[in-house]
Structure formats: C-alpha cells, structure tokens
Symmetry: C2
Subunit: 226 residues, 2 copies
C-alpha cells in the first residue's frame, strides 16, 4: 500500500481507540447469541491509524483476523467486557472509533451446564433476554462539556437508515455516526454515509474498507490541538 | 505430514461425508444464535480421509478454515440447509462423520429487517424458539435394515457425559458416538471417548485433533466389503 511520507509521522501523534468485531452473549458454555461482523472495518481503521503514526489500541471481539503491525490489541468476548476495557482505555485517549457490532441484548442467565428445554419433547421454547449496557452512549455521554475527545459511532441499519442514524447520533451523544447498510457485511467494498452532529452528511460511494478507513481517519484532524 | 505409502491408495476407496463447524440460526439479517465450534475436528477428519485416498465431501458451516486438498466442500449456514445437503450427499456415501455442531433450536421467525424490542425502553424481552430437525437421527434412522452405510455421531456434553452419550447413541440410531467435553472447544489437543452400538467404549487420551481423526477413520474398516 502506498502512503504519503508525511503521513507516517503525523504532526500530532494521537491516542486512538478502535473497537471491532462482534460480541458473543452466552446462554451456556456452547450456545450464544451474536451479531454478524467480520471485524474488517475496525481492523482496517486500526491498521491505517497505526500507519499514520498514531498510538492505537484495538479492542476486539472474537474474529479470525491478525493484529495489524504496531497495534496494541485487547481481546474481549461479551458487551460487558468490551465496555470495561473501553472505559479503561478511553480515559487517556483522544479519539474512539466504535466499529464493534455490540449485541444489545444478552440471555438473562448464563448456565454453567448445557441448556436444555424444560420439556425435552417440546417443539417450542423461549429465551429470556436482558438489555446490555449501551456502550456508545455510556462512553460518549460521560464526556464533560470541555472534553475534547472525539467519538465516532457506527450504525448498521436496514430500511430508513439515515433517519435512524441521525436519531442514533443525537441519542448517543456521539460526534459522528458512520452508517452502513447490511450489504456491507460480506463485501470487501462498502458504501457509507458519515453524519456529523453539526448536521453534516457525507456519502462515500463504494470503496475498499481500507480507503473508507482513511476517509474516517481524516476526522482526527478535528481533534482540537493542545 | 508423513503417511504410510499403503494408506494413500486404500484397498477400498470409500465415499466419506463429513460435516463440520457450527450452524447459524438467524433472528434477523445481523443477529443469530449459534454454537461454539471451530470446525477443526471435522476439517481434520476430512483432510486425513482424503490423505488416505477416500472420496471426501465436507459439508461446512461458517468457519475460517481452508478446504483441505482433494476435498469437495459444500458451504451451509443453518441446520435446515445442512440437512438438505446431507440428505443429498449421504445417499451415495459409505460413511458419515457428523462432526458439525448443529443448533438444536432456531428463532421461530427470521425477520427481514432488524429486530427491535416492541417496547424500545424495555429492559427485558424474549425470543421464541422452535426445534430444528434432528439431523443425526434423521439421517441415521432413515437407513434400512440391510443398509451398510455407517454413521458416526458426536456429542459435546457437560456433566455426566458417558450416560448422556450412550442415550444419544441409542436414541439417534448411530453406529458410534464420539464424546467430547467442553474443554475440547479451544484446545488443539482433545480427549474423546468412542461409544459403539455394540456396547464398546474406547477412551483416547489427550492427543492432537489430527491423531484423533486418524483413530476415528479406522472405524471405516468396519464398512462391509462389497
């Protein structure tokens, strides 16, 4: 990959936290509820941010991807572990890219042994779920009024995506939301829309995830200087 | 990998079907229920069977593994797809190794758009599940009295494994059940117990999955000659 020589040592070396991949919410030792996510967008962000010379921490759910060179990686499994790691890491960071596909629900109980339907002959059963902590809102919303850290959220939507993403941006208190549609899941090229809390809307047409990552990292220039 | 020259061209080239990996049971385009399974045991079986000169078809759920040389691979996602592929392939096969971790339940409905709790502020919800077809019992039990095809099932159990595996062997109508415990999930070495419908019980102590695969393929010698 070619890169401008000036990019390897940026004027400011920022501390960037990226989350990537799905979380898994276990019902028992073998069964779990999860989200479709290859982790590629988050890993591309981490790789390109490190290539730009930033100090990158990648908090990754279970994915089959190699850690990019120069990136510090923390592996997590479920939403609560991800939130705990993120709270710790974001404290001293300048920017967060919340690319992980965090499960919003988890089984109400995680059994130590294998789950079985109460009635072994039953054809139907149900699983009780409880809401997971809202990782994006928790981290974005905990910033003080003079806090200069930036938070970029991601939304994967079906249907009326822009309206939902705009609402998400406001509800969560993020600075930007990157909107994907479900066709992004298995594609090497993606189209995204970047919505800003200033009302801005930038569409990036179908491009490789690495190129989209580079566009998203340009948002780091909005981190106020020290 | 070294192999005895006599093994590459076995006296009889058998048609072996192996299933591997998890299935995914989608609730909506992004969320699904699944089982923990790397697919490594099934892929090791397929690789070693092909190395012995057998004609191998591998029916694989979503895993991040390369197809072993000389193996025909069919990719599936959910239990019903796996069963459909297996029915087709087992018709002309001599043996089946049912190493896939097939989900026994799936969401009662798969939504076209993203699933949302009816009450967006709710802290609890539930998912209705329906029982998946029992793939092992369906295929093993559909064999006629003079059918010479062999069926090897797998059981991952927590707790009183041998009693449950014995019951599974009988209930499903398989010829052998290979019992794993949950510690096998992330290990490169595994201990298994092979239970036969003749009442036999063979314990294989902690060995690499490839070595266990070789032991399991020795069961092919029990396929009656033509």
């Amino acid at each position: 990959m070619s890169r401008a020589p000036g990019r390897a040592r940026p004027a400011r070396r920022l501390r960037v936290v990226v989350t990537a991949g799905p979380t898994r919410e276990h019902l028992d030792p073998v069964r779990y509820l999860t989200n479709e996510s290859s982790g590629k967008m988050g890993f591309a962000l981490a790789a390109r941010a490190a290539a730009r010379g930033h100090a990158v921490t990648l908090i990754a759910g279970p994915v089959a991807l190699q850690t990019p060179p120069g990136v510090r990686r923390i592996d997590v499994v479920d939403a609560r572990e991800l939130l705990a790691a993120l709270r710790r890491e974001f404290r001293s960071a300048d920017a967060l890219y919340m690319a992980a596909a965090v499960c919003d629900w988890r089984p109400a109980r995680r059994l130590a042994g294998k789950w079985r339907a109460k009635d072994e002959a039953a054809e139907r059963t149900r699983v009780e779920l409880v809401r997971n902590p809202d990782v994006l809102a928790t981290v974005a919303g905990a910033r003080g009024a003079r806090d200069q850290r930036i938070v970029v959220g991601f939304a994967l939507e079906t249907g009326d995506g822009i309206r939902r993403a705009r609402r998400k941006l406001e509800a969560k208190g993020a600075d930007w939301i990157v909107l994907n549609d479900a066709s992004a899941l298995h594609a090497s090229k993606v189209s995204v829309t970047i919505l800003g809390k200033d009302g801005s809307l930038v569409k990036i047409p179908r491009r490789p995830k690495e190129a989209v990552a580079d566009r998203l990292l340009d948002l780091l220039e909005r981190v106020p200087g020290q």
